[in-house]
Symmetry: C2
Subunit: 271 residues, 2 copies
């Protein structure tokens, strides 16, 4: 059997009881290690909590070497652990499909993802529109299609959850042509960086203003969870500490949302 | 401490390890019993699995008698168990706020909800627009604002997750004026009923067609999970068995989505 087990928001004890039972009985356990997790902080905790060795599956392995992961999964039990929910990324969906096409039985264990945990700030999940991703800009590459989607959501009164870029195991430009790849240190976009990019776009495109209400959420579900509600302009200078961060651009705000959000705000909420 | 613990999709073992540890140490444990759960099927399993007595908290208690639930929670540990994720319903958000206003420390344990588990059909979660709710129609009350939202999502190429009505502990009309309330048997809308209401609206409103691709998902995350992809028209006659059901109206479909969804379809996928 091939299992894909959601780990939830990142603490080792966020795994479900069903998920833990599966991990404990598996012959091989892989940890998908590039879509969101802070591996170094958690891997040793996981090994001792599960009482299992864990094989790190990087992007190349999950995307190109699925036969390694699925090897013998028709007769053995193999688990791929995924931060958040298993269906949060296309690659996991794809791996489940490859398994089924090889007549390997599959089972998915769901868990919380930032898509529902974003409700922690008090904004109601059914008032959110399409989720967007904000990529790191470079000197020569400054895409802004996410901005248009935020504006469209806002025009319908809806909030937008912005997932912020993560770059883990990105090869250095210099090593791309060499035999041995070298990697850049991992980077995680902060809410302030995301807000800066959005403010930059407001200078040339209509739809958002620097006074618009934004909500930063950091390390959701952990002991150090932190939430700040303030203007997009103030958010550019707000330090929310360690990753992971997400940013919400608020649409029309309802009284019950406003009352809850006020706990995290230093200004009047009129987003 | 006042804990709100998400139970995930409904099996007793869908609780997280963190959630289970909390439940086991609490002085009182309430189970919120009206926004989604099939109580009778699960309550005895829960009691024996947790080794705890569980107090059923119905709508009246959660909405109007929050002081009963929060009683002594500043010195005792009290948990409210909620199917799905704790922030899936306004009332839970409200209860957390009441607790904090009474200086009761709170902690929320996230879990999967249908909002992310809907990805089980292979449609990517970031291609979904605003979620809608489809209520049971009566002879004299046939709201259709959800239809307009589906059409707006579709015009942007986005899928729509439709949450289907649940009526638990609805008083009978006759008993409304009497001292002792009597209750209707619980009702859960099926995908075929939802599709029928949508087809009915297409007769007078443009935007959707009976040939549009729809995906029915039933009992997501359970051993009997069932997924069907077919036209809205066929969906009106599709029996997906026991509750809970949800319906997805497909927007623009991407190749990887189409390939996955084809497992559940008897027709070509061009939604």
């Amino acid at each position: 059997m091939f299992y894909v087990v959601g780990l939830g928001l990142g603490d080792v004890k966020d795994i479900t009881v069903k998920g833990l039972e599966i991990v404990k009985k598996c012959d091989r356990v892989y940890l998908e290690a590039y879509t969101s997790i802070l591996i170094d902080d958690i891997i040793d905790d996981m090994k001792s909590f599960y009482g299992k060795d864990i094989i790190i599956a990087d992007r190349e392995m999950v995307e190109s070497a699925s036969d390694v992961i699925l090897h013998n999964a028709d007769v053995e039990d193999v688990a791929l652990l995924v931060v958040g929910d298993p269906y949060g990324a296309t690659t996991h969906t794809d791996l489940v499909l490859r398994a089924r096409q090889s007549n390997i039985p599959t089972k998915v264990v769901h868990n919380a993802s930032i898509l529902n945990a974003a409700g922690c700030c008090g904004l109601q999940l059914y008032n959110f529109g399409e989720t967007v991703s904000i990529p790191f800009w470079t000197e020569s590459w400054k895409p802004d299609s996410f901005y248009d989607k935020i504006v469209e959501n806002k025009s319908r009164g809806l909030h937008t959850l912005c997932l912020l870029d993560i770059q883990v195991k990105e090869p250095t430009l210099e090593s791309l042509t060499k035999k041995t790849r070298q990697y850049l240190p991992p980077r995680f976009m902060s809410v302030s960086q995301a807000a800066q990019q959005l403010v930059e776009i407001t200078k040339t495109k209509p739809g958002l203003s620097t006074a618009d209400l934004a909500v930063g959420i950091a390390r959701v579900g952990s002991e150090t969870q932190h939430i700040v509600a303030t203007s997009l302009s103030n958010m550019t200078e707000t330090d929310m500490g360690k990753p992971l961060h997400s940013l919400i651009i608020v649409g029309n705000i309802h009284p019950v949302e406003s009352e809850f959000l006020a706990q995290y705000s230093t200004q009047e909420l009129t987003g």
